[in-house]
């Protein structure tokens, strides 16, 4: 039942070797008064019954809905090789590579992953993954506190609101101050962000593209932050990096983001992975595992976990983070995804997302009463203003099989009529045209 292979004979022999009369005797160290008062679970079932149950649950999973939603998590195509290679049991059923000689597969893959993240973000040093995008932004904020020895973080309001919630929670515990700067329409309010930076500021956190889909140039902001010896943290959407200026190009000190869109299934919220990369001089402040290159006694190249003295198993409460298990397998998927597309394919994919979103933008903004709210460039998301409450419109479109976008009212009071629409390469022209037609219908009939 519990996949325990030992036969009654095995068990008898083992008990004899131990010198115990019964298995129950081995639980003697647990005093009677500490024993479980209840363990009320149903009896088990066979594989067949289990799959029947699980398939039933998977049947009501929103599979027939066409998703024009994002909000940090994106419906992208995943090359078949990703599933096949990442499912290799040797990757899948190993654990943290503490013993490097029998874990070169994982270690080299993570080294390649780190390289990939550095190249995507324009940075010099990446760790081997964090939990997800939100905790990655939070870890970057904590990292900036350590580097600058300051206590104030400026948080741009156009950063994903779910992520901002997580950052605020992490900072709250440490009595660090989070200063929120509201966006200006769909853009970061650069003037206010810059005037908020002072000599107490550890970092400014922005996102590119931001939650409204807008893409902005942060070079001046970086300069201003550096003038005050503060850091610029940019959270970025990795698929956009095929086309949009990277955090590194814009002068960021730490780049983070949600890695899901790199080859990880939607899976109702996880597992995904967070990435974090920085300048080489800040490497000792990175949280989590890092893989480094070295050699063995014969001079052969190999890879090991390195700079472990930052981590909880050595530094305990002084560690740069509490993270232990990370999201290695999801990071491996990200690596294989990038490698299968390659230099050219990755750029083409980004271009395709951009082209489709630009097309959708023109079609949807042409619907009667609908306006585009972004004033500048966008990547594969944009914000519409509807003539009606967006939450109601979304709900009615859901009934017609369309997830039209994320209504902004619940995250930005006052923006009840705004809707963020996401268009990945998987959405067809027909689906986009259909969304426009249904939107027109829901608004006006």
């Amino acid at each position: 039942m519990g996949y325990c292979p030992n036969t009654p004979d095995d068990i008898r022999d083992m008990l004899a070797a131990i010198g115990a009369a019964s298995v129950e005797e081995l639980f003697a160290p647990i005093p009677a008064e500490l024993r479980a008062k209840s363990f009320n679970l149903p009896p088990g079932m066979s594989e067949l019954e289990l799959l029947r149950l699980m398939r039933e649950k998977a049947a009501s999973c929103g599979a027939d809905i066409t998703p024009f939603i994002g909000g940090g998590i994106y419906d992208h195509f995943i090359p078949a090789a990703v599933d096949h290679l990442a499912s290799r049991a040797e990757f899948y059923t190993a654990y943290t590579p503490y013993q490097p000689e029998c874990a070169q597969g994982t270690l080299q893959a993570l080294y390649e992953y780190q390289t990939t993240i550095c190249r995507l973000t324009g940075m010099e040093a990446s760790n081997a993954s964090l939990y997800d995008g939100g905790t990655a932004v939070a870890e970057a904020a904590l990292m900036s506190l350590r580097i600058t020895d300051r206590h104030k973080v400026i948080l741009d309001g156009s950063v994903n609101p779910l992520h901002r919630g997580i950052v605020t929670g992490y900072l709250h515990g440490l009595s660090a101050q989070a200063v929120h700067v509201a966006p200006d329409g769909c853009a970061s309010d650069l003037a206010r962000l810059m005037s908020s930076i002072d000599d107490e500021t550890a970092a400014v956190i922005v996102q590119s593209p931001n939650f409204f889909g807008s893409v902005q140039d942060f070079r001046e902001l970086a300069q201003k932050a550096h003038d005050h010896e503060a850091l610029l943290i940019v959270s970025c959407y990795p698929i956009a990096m095929g086309l949009v200026a990277s955090p590194g190009e814009m002068g960021a000190d730490i780049a983070v983001g949600e890695g899901q869109s790199l080859g990880n299934h939607l899976s109702f919220g996880g597992p995904y992975f967070g990435f974090i990369a920085t300048r080489k001089r800040f490497i000792r402040n990175l949280p989590g595992r890092i893989v480094g290159e070295t050699i063995d006694h014969q001079g052969r190249r190999g890879f090991v976990l390195t700079l472990q003295a930052r981590e909880q198993h050595i530094k305990r409460h002084k560690a740069t983070s509490n993270i232990c298990s990370n999201q290695s397998l999801c990071a491996l998927r990200g690596l294989i995804f990038c490698a299968s597309l390659g230099r050219k394919g990755f750029e083409e994919l980004a271009q395709l997302n951009y082209d489709k979103a630009q097309y959708a933008k023109s079609v949807l903004a042409a619907v009667r009463g609908v306006d585009l709210l972004n004033s500048g460039a966008t990547f594969n998301e944009f914000t519409l203003v509807l003539p009606k409450d967006a939450a109601e419109v979304v709900q009615r479109l859901l009934d017609k099989g369309m997830a039209a976008g994320v209504p902004l009212g619940q995250y930005y009071p006052g923006m009840e009529r705004a809707l963020v629409v996401t268009v990945t390469e998987k959405r067809t022209k027909d689906e986009i045209d259909r969304l426009a037609a249904l939107l027109e219908e829901v608004l006006w009939s």
Binding site: Q308, A309, I314, K315
Partner: protein
């Protein structure tokens, strides 16, 4: 001038009112191959036995405490690129920093070389 040691295995040597500080040969040996020394900021003031710097090897990390109170006047910049100097000579070229404004009376709370030897034998 004589060297004095702490129970936490730092050493200090006075020259006038300036003290040179490092970790003992014993500590360096225990840590193994040093991979990093986090040097204090110049100008930082410390009290006796406060955390002053930190040192790391592959599998360990530990704080270095100030053997005497003072203000950091100079740090051993060479350790930034060559932390192995601590292994090569923890009580010579592997010194960590120099402290100004030291009160020699505080040395009374420390061990001299002979006492430190006895202390090590008892560990």
């Amino acid at each position: 001038m004589a060297k004095f040691y702490t129970k936490e295995h730092e050493w200090v040597e006075m020259a006038g009112a300036q003290a040179t500080v490092g970790i003992s040969e014993h500590a360096a040996h225990e840590l193994g191959d040093i991979t990093y020394v986090e040097l204090p900021k110049i100008g930082k003031s410390v009290k006796q036995f406060d955390a002053l710097a930190a040192i790391e090897s592959v599998k360990a990390a530990s704080d270095i405490y100030a053997p005497v109170s003072g203000k950091v006047a100079e740090v051993n910049q060479a350790l930034n690129d060559a932390p192995e100097l601590v292994n090569q000579g923890a009580e010579s070229q592997g010194w960590i920093c120099k402290l100004d404004g030291v009160n020699e009376a505080e040395l009374g709370a420390l061990m001299d070389a002979a006492a430190y030897d006895v202390y090590l034998k008892g560990l």
